[in-house]
Assembly symmetry: C2
């Protein structure tokens, strides 16, 4: 069943689009559903389409030649991904996009977005806005990785995730659904270190953790770890 085109307004790049434009994008897109663990695209594939995640969760990962990988970002509903190729000609995806659970996305030809941008300044503008935000985030994460210790990096990753993908539980706490491996790839460390740090936090009453699950008990405590001098 096709989505309601007007829902696309929830995509930040489309927030200023006319209803007609939204319908145009929807009409030009094809829905793709994939299972957990499968890929929307692989690093190195020609970047013909960009995607809008309609349901589920996914992650963008980049691997080095020997296979080690980092998690560049996690994608939740109504986020756009794979859009870098919409600008540079004959580009390939710089990262792979893997579903963290059963997910469906709308795939739209990058060339179409490019075409639309020619006549709609608001589109270029909103896409640029998205890019600058992302650049700033990457610059910060880069600095963190270069200058901060693991515990703090993990705290930051957890806070970023809670802001973006945290699920409110019945009792008002916030829960994350990630494996230790995922969290390690997001903070540039190993699953062992993440496990140790979480155990320590649990002892201190900051979180409660289980299989593919972290419950934030004391967000303020995490902020302190993430921010405090020395």
């Amino acid at each position: 069943m096709p989505i309601d085109p007007l829902n696309l307004r929830r995509v930040s790049v489309f927030q200023n689009a006319t209803d007609d434009d939204l319908r145009l994008f929807a009409k030009n897109g094809i829905e793709r559903s994939i299972e957990e663990g499968e890929y929307f695209f692989f690093q190195g594939d020609p970047a013909i389409y960009f995607y809008v995640l309609i349901s589920g969760r996914a992650k963008l990962m980049q691997a080095n030649p020997s296979g080690q990988q980092v998690n560049l970002r996690t994608i939740s509903e109504w986020q756009m991904f794979g859009a870098l190729g919409a600008v540079s000609e004959e580009a390939t995806y710089p990262a792979s996009a893997q579903a963290l659970e059963h997910s469906t996305a709308l795939a739209i030809k990058s060339a179409f977005l490019k075409e639309m941008m020619n006549t709609r300044p608001y589109l270029s503008f909103d896409l640029m806005k998205l890019m600058t935000d992302y650049i700033q985030e990457m610059q910060e994460r880069y600095r963190e990785l270069a200058t901060e210790k693991v515990e703090r990096r993990i705290a930051r990753a957890v806070l970023r995730l809670t802001a973006q993908m945290g699920i409110k539980t019945a009792d008002g706490n916030i829960e994350l659904a990630f494996t230790r491996q995922d969290m390690a790839e997001m903070s540039g460390t190993t699953l062992y270190t993440v496990s140790r740090v979480l155990s320590e936090w649990e002892k201190r009453g900051l979180v409660e953790s289980g299989r593919e699950r972290v419950l934030i008990r004391n967000p303020h405590g995490l902020v302190q770890i993430a921010e405090e001098l020395d």
Copy 2:
């Protein structure tokens, strides 16, 4: 003495501008000359202007609250910097821009660029192109920092620099003019480690190094260090 507006075409974002547009930008800019070590702007300042470096060299650095800093990129002639603020409203610079030698830049109001982009799709487009390139570079550097060992990261930093700011010497070799500290900030390590690695490379005949100076003797050898598996 004011610059020739047509020289602005060498700025990648202005490559498709009309001569008249170039003159407009030049007329709306003011030249600022600063000495080595001084700053065009500081991290946290309101981002009212963006800059085009006309002569000299500069670096963009980001510091964490306790003062440790990383070098996000180095800026050479006819490169634009500080332009992120042109998109997001009431933004502040996410990094500081410091001159590596006596430098002069053209400062143009971000609001003016924004205004120009409204009516000139090519401008938005070329700026986006620049942003995507930068995003890809940052993503790669982030992955490197997370997964690669220092020696390789230093090799990559050196190669990036030679491509961007290498100076051909009389005998056909390429030379870089950076302190160990600068190189350390660019590869996410310390000046001591950079010094040790350069000494080792010198023993192997890959480079020749001196005060604020590295001469590349065997670029291919460096590429091997930067790329080889295992």
